[in-house]
Structures are given as C-alpha cells and as structure tokens.
Symmetry: C2
Subunit: 231 residues, 2 copies
C-alpha cells in the first residue's frame, strides 16, 4: 500500500482546544450563576450553539455570540450588562491564548514530514486557525493548510486530490470520529483516531472499529509506526 | 501578453456588501441614539473595528462583536440589554440576507469563463462567503475559491501559482485599491479596479493610475474587452 499524504486535524490533535472551551464554559456558568439555573443554562447554551452552527460555523466568535444570546434569553433580558462585557472579554482571551503543541507532536510531525506530504485540515475561524498554527511553531512542517467550513467526504476528496495523490493514498489523523474518521474513510482514505480526553458533544460518534482502513492510536507518536506497517 | 487566469473579488464586486454594512451601521446608530452622541459613537465603533481586526478578522461576526462592545463601552455599561439583543439580531440578519449578483456580473463571468480560469479570491468569514457564493448561483463558473485571511502580495502569489500559471499571467479584478489592486500588482499580476459607490474606510487608498498593468473599468462587463486588448 502506498501512502503519500498525511492529513492532520489541528484542535485537540496538535494542541489543546476543547479544554479552553470547557474553561470558558465554566466561567460562563459562574457568571450567570446568580441569574439562572445551571442545568437549564447548560442546555440552552447547547441549543443556541447547535441552532447557530449553520449561521456562525465553528469557532470562538460564534461561541461568544451564542453565549451572549443565551445570557440574554435565559434571563428574559435581565442579565446585567457587566456580565455581557465579561463574556466578550472571555471570547477575546480565547483568541489570544498561547498555543502549545501537545506532548510528542513536534517530534512525530518532524518524522512524518520526512516521508509524507503533511496537510493541515481543520475547521473554525480562518484567521484564528492561521494564528494558532503560526504561534505553535509547527507551520513549516506542513506542505499545505486547508481550513474548511465542514469536514465531509467531499472536503477530503478535494483536499487530498489538490495537495496529494488522491484519498486512496492518504491517511487522516485526528481526534474526532465524526469529523476526522468517518468522512475520510468514506472518501477512500485511511484514518487514525487519536483520542483526546474531552470530546465536544456535537462531535460524539461511534468509532468504526472493524473498518479495514481504520486504526485507533494512543498518540500521534504512534502514527509513523502504523504507516510503516502499511507500506 | 498571455493571460490564463482571472481572480475576482466577491463583496462589492460580484454582489452588494458595503451597502448592507452601512444599513446595519445606521440601525446601530438609531438604536444607540437615546444613549450616546452620534459622532462619538461613529468614531468609537470605527476604533473598535480597527482594534479588533487582528483578533476577529473580516466579516459579520467580528462586526457584531465590535458593535456590542462599543454599545457597552460608550454607555459605561448603561446600555439596555434590549439594545444588545437587537444588535445580535441585526448581525444574524446580515448573515441570512439574500444575495443578488450585481447587474451584468453573470454575463461577464460566463464570457470570461470561456477563455480563462476564474478564481474567487475573498476575505471574510469562511462559512458566510461560501454560503453567499452558493446563494448567488455563480459558483459553477469558478474553477476555484480561495478565502484568505489577508489579501497581500504573498496571498496573490500563492493563489495564482496554485490555481493558474503564476501571477504574471493573471489579472485581479475588484473594487478595493488596497486589497485587490496594489498587492496584486506587487505580486506581478495585472489589475482592474471596478469601483463600487461605497468604500469601507479601512480599504481607502489611492489608485496607481500610471501603472502599466493597471486599468480602471466602469463595470465588470468591460473586463473581457480589456483582456482582449492585452492578448
């Protein structure tokens, strides 16, 4: 089997992301604690995020707008303006948070880049993803960066034809079964799940454990070894 | 001179955009009218937009967040929550506004697409730009779509090598001297300015009237003719 191209997810595969969302989420709950029931607040925010996804897409700006909307709606407009100001600040802080590669990522990417064309494939805010890649110091290891609005079968087909030799000679590695694994397999690529301790509710899905082109790995450090066994 | 590739800006070149921002801007002023001096409000919003550009990038979500921030700051937190709810609604409406190609655009693109590879090159929110292109019905005329975080010389060099035969055999057409003309000329491409009646303050710049590879056109309908004279 010939593999020429490795697609890599960014958030929660190369660096922490969901942790940061959870921390901001907790800060949001604490801010609203005097004004709204916690369980109701959680479900209203999840609903707003889901409802706004088709308008706002993925990323911090949309999340910030959904938090503000939820704070207003759940209090029937009685939320103190000070709380909205805090939500805005929390969003801005997420956008300026330092980016640290996860342990072992840098070495694994350096190894992979000697044999394969590396393509970063991620969704989220275009500018913010580019800034995180620059801040991570990993940018030079990638032959291409594709920020897409949705990770579906068509997106993987397009990206792997554009930057590689087609999906059949590519492997996608990431932490989301729904976004990184299933559509990449559908496109005809290989796929490696590298679980992150937290999964965003929207991304939850069951891994296709018996698929012949699928493997779950403990960390990105195991990817070069798996690819060697395929050769 | 051989031209193989035509880059086209989207907002205010293919369809109205600044008009929609101005309408929302007017709505924002009207909402805050009882709470803040209009001239001060205008300049505070412009400052917030400029300051947030490096964090939020271009597009409706960032504009919405800057309006909310300005409404809170200028009233020292005394803005009614109802006003913030209205700002959120105005932002959502911008994202769902119907998209109509400007007069003559469809015919001009159809003509151009027979001889040249058309590439849409735009900044803004990734998802929103894709949605506008889909809603415009113009998507099939383009060989490629590139949504970039900043339109600078490097972006044009990359895009015209990736999707064409290099910048020297490409022309960029758009309404912004700062974003569409100057950096495209710097990259070695030709450039056609197609003025739109309104220009965002951030994009104001002086046209390089005497540049040998530059031309100002009255409308996109004049682009095929100009390209014929170059051949």
């Amino acid at each position: 089997m010939r593999i020429t191209t490795v697609g890599l997810d960014a958030d929660d595969t190369l660096w922490h992301n969901e942790t940061l969302f959870r921390l901001t989420h907790a800060r949001f709950l604490a801010l609203l604690e005097p004004h709204a029931d916690e369980a109701a607040l959680q479900s209203r925010l999840a609903e707003a995020e889901q409802r706004n996804l088709r308008l706002y897409g993925y990323g911090v700006k949309g999340f910030t707008l959904s938090m503000i909307e939820t704070a207003i709606e759940i209090t029937h407009g009685d939320v103190p303006v000070r709380v909205i100001r805090e939500i805005l600040a929390a969003g801005r802080e997420m956008l300026t948070e330092p980016v640290e590669p996860l342990p072992g990522v840098e070495t694994a990417l350096a190894q992979l880049s000697e044999k394969y064309r590396l393509v970063l494939i991620t969704k989220g805010d275009l500018l913010h993803q580019e800034q995180k890649l620059a801040a991570s110091g990993l940018g030079d290891l990638f032959a291409a960066v594709e920020i897409v609005s949705e990770k579906d079968r068509g997106a993987y087909e397009r990206v792997f034809s554009r930057h590689g030799t087609g999906a059949a000679e590519a492997v996608m590695a990431g932490n989301s079964v729904k976004s990184d694994i299933i559509p990449a397999l559908e496109a005809g690529a290989w796929a490696a799940l590298i679980p992150y301790p937290l999964v965003w509710a929207h991304e939850a899905a069951t891994a296709p454990k018996d698929h012949p082109r699928y493997r779950e790995l403990a960390s990105l450090a195991d990817l070069p070894g798996w690819l060697d066994t395929l050769a």
